[in-house]
């Protein structure tokens, strides 16, 4: 039993709230990312980490000091960091002669490493180098993946899932249409992945939907895939499993037809149709003479004196 597994009894309300935020929930919090520098990180890699931190604020932590670890050999220190800071995504930057400008992007499940992919940065243009106006911090970006290799190749598919997870941001129920300013575009061509960020300008077009013009902004990276450490299929399936309570409840007895009309089905008890309340039509009302003729056979009621 290592010290982090001990049952911690909270002594204050604040500590209790802190622990409740970290425990597993039905609807999870937005994933936090930790950006770590390796023992031999150089300027390029540090600049990349700083830029990605700027994009992912406030759901990211940038560690200032260098940490001498090798994620592909030993994952315990990464898991320790993840437990301490409650982050399930990480980006580790290092540099050596064999693998220059190395970035290891990965995610955790239950504080254990799920997937890790090593990418090499071939070209990097930082936020500072592009002299255009930037969009506000914390904007939810639009993500676009171009290239059929993102569906064909298993590693690229995991990379796509990892990148979506990384850059997604919080899940929101509605979005301000004029505020769709930031778009991240990933193109996979010829063994390389080009990541570009653009600022979206909405121009007037004749109709309701505006015409889009893009302006280069923000970090742009040319990446090449190196080593990977992907989770086994059953562990991945386990991590994808959603609890049953989250499934939307199916509304019974409601159906839609082709034209968009909604039909509902109501189940009624057996009704006595002779006692049904219908509209009164004075002309069809039984006249007293007719009524008497009907009741003649039955027991005579008290008759009103005319």
């Amino acid at each position: 039993m290592d010290p982090l597994d001990r049952v911690v009894k909270p002594k204050t309300k604040r500590a209790k709230r802190f622990l409740e935020k970290r425990e597993p929930k039905l609807n999870e919090n937005t994933k936090n990312a930790m950006l770590i520098r390796g023992g031999n990180a150089n300027l390029t890699v540090t600049a990349v980490l700083k830029d990605i931190y700027a994009v992912k604020k406030p759901f990211a932590v940038l560690y200032k000091k260098k940490n001498i670890t090798r994620p592909f050999e030993d994952q315990t220190s990464l898991e320790f960091f993840s437990k301490k800071s409650d982050c399930s995504l990480f980006l580790f930057g290092c540099h050596n002669k064999k693998r220059p400008n190395n970035l290891i992007i990965g995610r955790m499940f239950d504080y254990h490493v799920l997937d890790m992919i090593e990418l090499g940065v071939e070209k990097f243009v930082s936020l500072k180098d592009v002299k255009n106006s930037k969009c506000p911090e914390g904007t939810k970006p639009m993500l676009i993946f171009a290239g059929d290799v993102f569906d064909v190749n298993e590693e690229y598919r995991r990379l796509k899932s990892l990148l979506i997870d990384f850059f997604r941001g919080p899940t929101v129920p509605s979005v301000r249409l004029a505020g769709l300013e930031y778009v991240l575009h990933f193109t996979a061509v010829d063994g390389k992945i080009y990541m570009r960020s653009y600022k979206v300008l909405l121009k007037k077009s004749g109709c309701k939907i505006p015409r889009i013009e893009l302006e280069e902004m923000g970090p742009s990276l040319d990446l090449v895939m190196r080593r990977t450490h992907l989770a086994s299929d059953d562990l991945y399936k386990l991590s994808l499993k959603q609890p049953k309570a989250l499934k939307p409840k199916k509304k019974k007895n409601i159906s839609h037809d082709v034209f968009g009309t909604t039909y509902g089905r109501i189940h009624m008890q057996k009704q006595d149709l002779s006692k049904l309340q219908t509209r009164k039509m004075k002309g069809l009302k039984k006249r007293p003479a007719e009524k008497l003729a009907e009741d003649g056979g039955a027991t005579p009621k008290k008759s009103k004196s005319a």
Binding site: S88, D148, T171, A178, G206
Partner: protein
């Protein structure tokens, strides 16, 4: 003349419409896949010729930018088609309602497990004891007003200011009663805290699901863990624990000669004497008038099951509590046969079990 002019006007209008639409339409071979909940678009078209992209510099950037512009146009058109509303009243910004995200992403942590019931909860479920809602204020006769049940200015008066402590009937007259009350309160609090921590540890252990964890090195083991580990240690010898001497007070475990198999059948031509005695016993049981079924045990089991079911059903419906009297009155209403058997057996069974219970408390 007029007809031609009308046609010309209509054609011109259509031309204009098409012109406007041209600025926002994008031609693609394959349709993109959209996940509007995540603001995501996936383009499966093969990217523009690799040769064009290999040439580094502005040409490549321009190509990438054009591709990005097309894809973004398609995504934004889709987003603009979503149902919109004005957030925050009439003057607020225009927001679109996003659907649920469809792209499956792995969770951060496994889904939460329901915590195991505490010892009291298990007992209550077994006995059919339900929660009663208590009023928050109690009438205090002495102060002639409504006081709270516990806490500051409680109904029974401040216990720290109690100036009288009676010596109970069988107690030592020299004993300090105030000290005894204080000691007993401290013991109660300590026991409560211990039980709470035990429940918490049980829940935590169940949550992390570590059945085969090694023994904790410094004395925090509990009985079951020790027993389990001792059993495993005994069996992990070359002869699977058959010749392992037992400790002085360790109970002798019946040897499972089958080595863990569930069913074992006797050999066909084995012990003739045993077979004969078994058959005679069977005949004897069949011929005897005494019922093989133990009515008392069966009836008690049935009663307990019914109580548990009733408690569960009441918890689900959230009915108001009827209290003990109501529950007792319910009993005779049940099926006659069972209640008859119960009434017959209740005296000896109730007396026996009631006496037993009293002794324990």
């Amino acid at each position: 003349m007029a007809a031609v002019r009308v046609e010309a006007v209509l054609a011109a209008a259509e031309e204009q419409e098409a012109e406007k639409r041209r600025s926002i339409t994008v031609e693609k071979e394959l349709e993109l896949e959209f996940d509007l909940g995540n603001l995501l678009a996936l383009d499966r078209n093969p990217p523009p010729a690799a040769a064009a992209l290999r040439g580094a510099g502005p040409r490549r950037e321009a190509l990438l930018r054009a591709l990005a512009r097309d894809n973004t146009q398609l995504l934004v058109s889709r987003l603009w088609e979503l149902p919109t509303e004005r957030a925050g009243g009439a003057g607020g910004p225009l927001v679109a309602r996003l659907p649920e995200p469809t792209f499956r992403l792995p969770r951060e942590k496994p889904p939460p497990r329901p915590r195991p019931p505490t010892r009291w909860e298990q007992f209550a479920r077994l006995k059919g004891i339900r929660r009663r809602k208590k009023t928050s204020l109690v009438w205090d006769e002495q102060a002639k007003e409504w006081r709270r049940r516990w806490g500051y200015r409680r109904a029974g008066g401040d216990p720290a200011r109690a100036w009288l402590a009676e010596v109970p009937a069988g107690a030592d007259p020299e004993e300090d009663q105030f000290a005894r009350l204080r000691r007993e309160k401290r013991e109660r609090v300590a026991r409560n805290e211990l039980n709470r921590l035990r429940n918490l540890a049980r829940a935590h252990r169940a949550g992390s699901a570590v059945p085969a964890a090694p023994l904790h090195p410094t004395g925090h083991q509990d009985r079951e863990e020790l027993r389990r580990v001792a059993r495993v240690a005994r069996v992990s010898t070359a002869s699977l624990g058959r010749f392992q001497p037992r400790l002085p007070k360790e109970p002798a475990e019946p040897p499972s000669r089958s080595g863990g198999r569930k069913r074992r059948f006797e050999p066909l031509l084995g012990n003739l004497a045993a077979e004969r005695s078994r058959q005679l016993e069977l005949l004897r049981d069949m011929g005897s008038k005494k019922p093989v079924l133990d009515i008392t045990r069966a009836v008690n089991k049935q009663m307990r099951q019914e109580e548990a079911e009733a408690a569960a059903a009441h918890k689900g419906k959230k009915q108001s509590q009827r209290g003990k009297r109501g529950r007792r009155q319910q009993r005779p209403g049940r099926s006659g046969k069972k209640s008859g058997a119960r009434r017959q057996q209740q005296k000896p069974a109730g007396g026996g079990s009631g006496g037993g219970r009293r002794k324990k408390a």
